[in-house]
Amino acid sequence: MLNWLTLQHLRGRFLELQSFDESYVERLSAGDFRTQEHFVAYFSELIQLKLRSRLHSPQAIEDVRQETFTRVFAALRSGKIRQPDRLGAFVNSMCNNVLLEQYRASSRDSSLEDEEQTDFPALTVDVLGAIAAKQMAEKIREILEEMPERDRRLLREVFLEERDKDEVCRDFGVDRDYLRVLLHRAKQSFKSLYLKNMAARPPGVVAAAKL
């Protein structure tokens, strides 16, 4: 089975901003290792975020992720990517196709979806590594400490307790827009440290993917 840079291998990978252009696609097609590493790391995170709301099984998410990359690289090798600047949309589209097949497969075999949900390590934490994650946690603690207690409880109910958001907002006497703005402001406070950590980490060495 293809083993495209499993989530464990993605620890500490550098997600620098690179242009997805013709040159990038050429390097990717030519098998340039650093470009492949960046490509997989960059889109793995987005794929996982996309799939989390659709699949409950970590194994199913991993299966879809790997199959997506398998097909994208097959398309690259056969020169099917005609719009390099739309590489991201291509990956998204491929992921949608694989996901659809996954739904069909799981409706025939319900064992996958019925799997007990296990704790799935956040890819964002894995990607950044333990030290950066600790810094991030400290910053988030700081942001939360600066919030009124009510806002902290609101976030706890929504994200930790996973209660129905409408119910939570009703209980706290706020509307959904208040919750959105709260998240937006907190994210903005956190984002500068996040960007700094992303920029400071050099690319790591990863085991070559088995083809």
Partner: protein, 224 residues
């Protein structure tokens, strides 16, 4: 969905809160995979949410009540914590004590005592290429006694000192009550490198124009 629309609609927050209907969600994801700005925004927000869960799952006592807890929060106020503050204050006390009882008295003695050291005479009227040799110990300064030319019609004088790398090291006025007075320029010896220095004396006219009137080479030889 384009980028401006995604920002305007706070699509990142809605996406992570599960508030986008299926069609908008698909549209946002299609945009997200192509837009690095939005991708970064979503990743940062997702990281925030994940870590918030970790922090909020800690015992409540770990997060002080904002309205009632006077304890300083983490950040720059952390240095006020007693253990750290004591160590810092002790270090500062040691530094201040050393400076007041050792360094400063030594500097005062050095500054107030007569200094004996090498010197050379620089006669501005002299033209020529002779080099003045000065022998000084390492770290020892030396003096240059500048004899200004009588009545050359300049309102004032200035001197420039060039180091062996021919870089201007110092420039300053030479003030005189009368033009036949000599003036000493003391060149400090700290970190002084041996080599050929150049002292350029300039005359300044009443109009403020500067004219080089002499240039002297000083060969500084450091003796151990």
């Amino acid at each position: 969905m384009d980028h401006d629309e995604a920002v305007r609609q706070k699509a990142t927050e809605k996406y992570l809160l599960g508030e986008l209907d299926p069609e908008l969600k698909d549209q946002f994801e299609e945009h997200l995979f192509d837009c690095q700005d939005c991708a970064l925004d979503v990743r940062a927000a997702a990281m925030f949410v994940e870590q918030t869960k970790v922090v909020l799952s800690e015992p409540i006592v770990a997060l002080p009540e904002r309205a009632t807890a006077p304890a300083p929060s983490a950040g720059w106020l952390a240095w006020l914590r007693p253990a750290f503050a004591v160590a810092v204050l002790a270090l500062l006390l040691a530094v201040v004590g050393y400076q007041n009882f050792v360094t400063y008295p030594h500097l005062m003695r050095a500054a107030n005592q007569p200094q004996v050291g090498p010197w050379a005479s620089v006669n501005v009227s002299t033209r020529g290429t002779t080099t003045t040799v000065i022998k000084a110990r390492r770290g020892e300064g030396f003096g240059l006694l500048v004899n200004l030319p009588p009545e050359e019609g300049f309102a004032s004088y200035a001197a420039d000192l060039y180091n062996p790398a021919q870089k201007l090291e110092w420039s300053g006025p030479i003030s005189t009550a009368t033009s036949d007075e000599g003036r000493q320029i003391y060149i400090p010896g700290r970190n002084r490198q041996p080599g050929t220095y150049a002292l350029v004396v300039r005359g300044i006219t009443t109009a403020g124009e500067s004219k080089e009137i002499s240039r002297h080479s000083i060969d500084l030889q450091i003796q151990n």
